[in-house]
Amino acid sequence: MTASTTTNDPLSVEEIRSDFPSLTVPMHGKPLVYLDSAATTLKPRPVLETIQEFYGHRYGTVRRAVYGLSEQATAAFERTRKTVTRFINAPTSRSIVFTKGTTESINLVASSWGKTHLRPGDEVLISAMEHHANIVPWQLACEATGAQLRILPMNSSGELLTEELDTLLNKRTRLVAVTGLSNALGTINPIQEICSRAHAQGSLVLIDAAQMAGHMAIDVQALDCDFLAFSGHKVFGPCGVGVLYGKPEILETMPPYQSGGDMIREVTFEKTTFADIPVRFEAGTPAIVEVIGLGSALEYIHSIGFEQIGAHEKDLLRYGTDLLEQIPKLRLIGTAAHKSSILAFILEDVHAHDIGTILDQAGIAIRAGHHCAQPTMKFFGVAATSRASLSIYNSREDLDALALAIDEVITLFRS
């Protein structure tokens, strides 16, 4: 392994790594090199401790009971709503809906907003690099309402062709749904520009921030987006919890997504009246401890700071890009000028799944496949890519190990 220096690194990787117990568990007898944070991040000790402490000593239901345990749990649950509000600089905690994850957040909007606001002939615009979670709900919403799905194209570097917005955005456009940071390519999209241009045509904007949320500061008021969705498990938090931000005046126009307990005001057998936002969209007992664990994860991110995170990941991306570009027969997929945290590539003559299996034997966890973005794969003319994705706990040594292992794959397949 090539020796690397991290002395100029503004973020103490060693210190961060010591917060993540998963990194101490060997894989196939080798130290774990975890390069799949775009799929899901490892969990830091404060999140693990919060979950254990809460389930162990402070567990109770929320919003229902009059006893102390439940009141404390409700307070901790609602404190997390305030933490999320601060995390994305939302105007009010009424605009924060807890969901199962980004997928449910988008489905909520596509189903509740879509079925009440989309009409035949309306248009929904998505981009060519969306995750299936930001494609399929809109296809179904369009099918159900007679609206049309339009696609904002990209170039061969994986950059959106925003000049096409001149024709794609028109008075029929009701919603633009676009990712802030592509999970397959690493492209950072110009969502500020997209928001202002969409609004100028009277269209709403939904930002899929699943990838973005762990890497870049989000300010929904500065962006002026109408909806924004992200998941807990990609920001060092638990699985099974996510967030939908919606402008309160828009959420108020939307009917319930699911129905049942908790989201009602009054139920009789003749008629039900529904609770105010955001509880209207939170039917059933929520993932109480996971929500509280998400709060702990966001506080953990806050304690490091996005400036530090951004600088560290920018250094890693540059270092990793330089290393991979030196490998003959390797082609990076996704080379946008404005990019973050993702190194997706193909090797001539070696399928991504073979690379993934061989790297796994060296203790290196990367993702091989279509990354739930089959239209993106089709655009680049590949069935699958290998993807190394970076996070705060990765080091230059991780990338050295990756490059070395890829060299060995090439040697093996040439032999």
Binding site: D354, T357, I358, Q361, H370, L412
Partner: protein, 148 residues
């Protein structure tokens, strides 16, 4: 690095697949596709009086799937339909880990090299895709098979 799974025989068949290409005058064919990883093969068989005269395949995918398809075509030459279906069953059970090809008497021969796949559950479908296509072609249930 050395790996049980990526032995030279497999790498060689991946690089120089045998019996690769469409087969004119085939009597049976089936397209096998795994949408999750993009492995995509078509298997062609020419069968006369229950006897397999020729087997070919075409398509693309990972080294495991391609080597498996290539070695399957070799191992089926000269077999009859019943023998081919029996071999499918042995191969399938071996890669699933239900049959120990080292300690059991089988017709697998060189195909035992794929026994290592059982340690990689996510790759079992790669090794078995062309076999499923062949099995389906001979059973003539349909002309499309998918492993996910």
């Amino acid at each position: 690095m050395s790996f049980d799974l990526y032995q030279q025989v497999i790498l060689d068949h991946n690089r120089k697949p045998r019996n690769c290409g469409a087969l004119e005058g085939h009597t049976h064919t089936c397209h096998g596709h795994n949408p999750l990883c993009g492995d995509d093969y078509t298997v062609y068989l020419k069968v006369t009086n229950e006897q397999i005269e020729q087997v070919t395949f075409e398509g693309n995918g990972c080294a495991i799937s391609k080597a498996s398809a290539s070695m399957m075509t070799q191992s089926l030459q000269g077999k009859n339909i019943d023998q081919a279906q029996a071999l499918f069953e042995e191969f399938h059970q071996m890669v699933l880990g239900n049959l120990d090809a080292e300690s059991t008497e089988t017709q697998l021969g060189k195909l035992k090299i794929f026994q290592g796949v059982r340690a990689f559950p996510s790759r079992v479908k790669c090794a078995s895709l062309s076999w499923h296509a062949m099995h389906t072609a001979l059973t003539q249930k349909e002309d499309e098979v998918s492993t996910e």
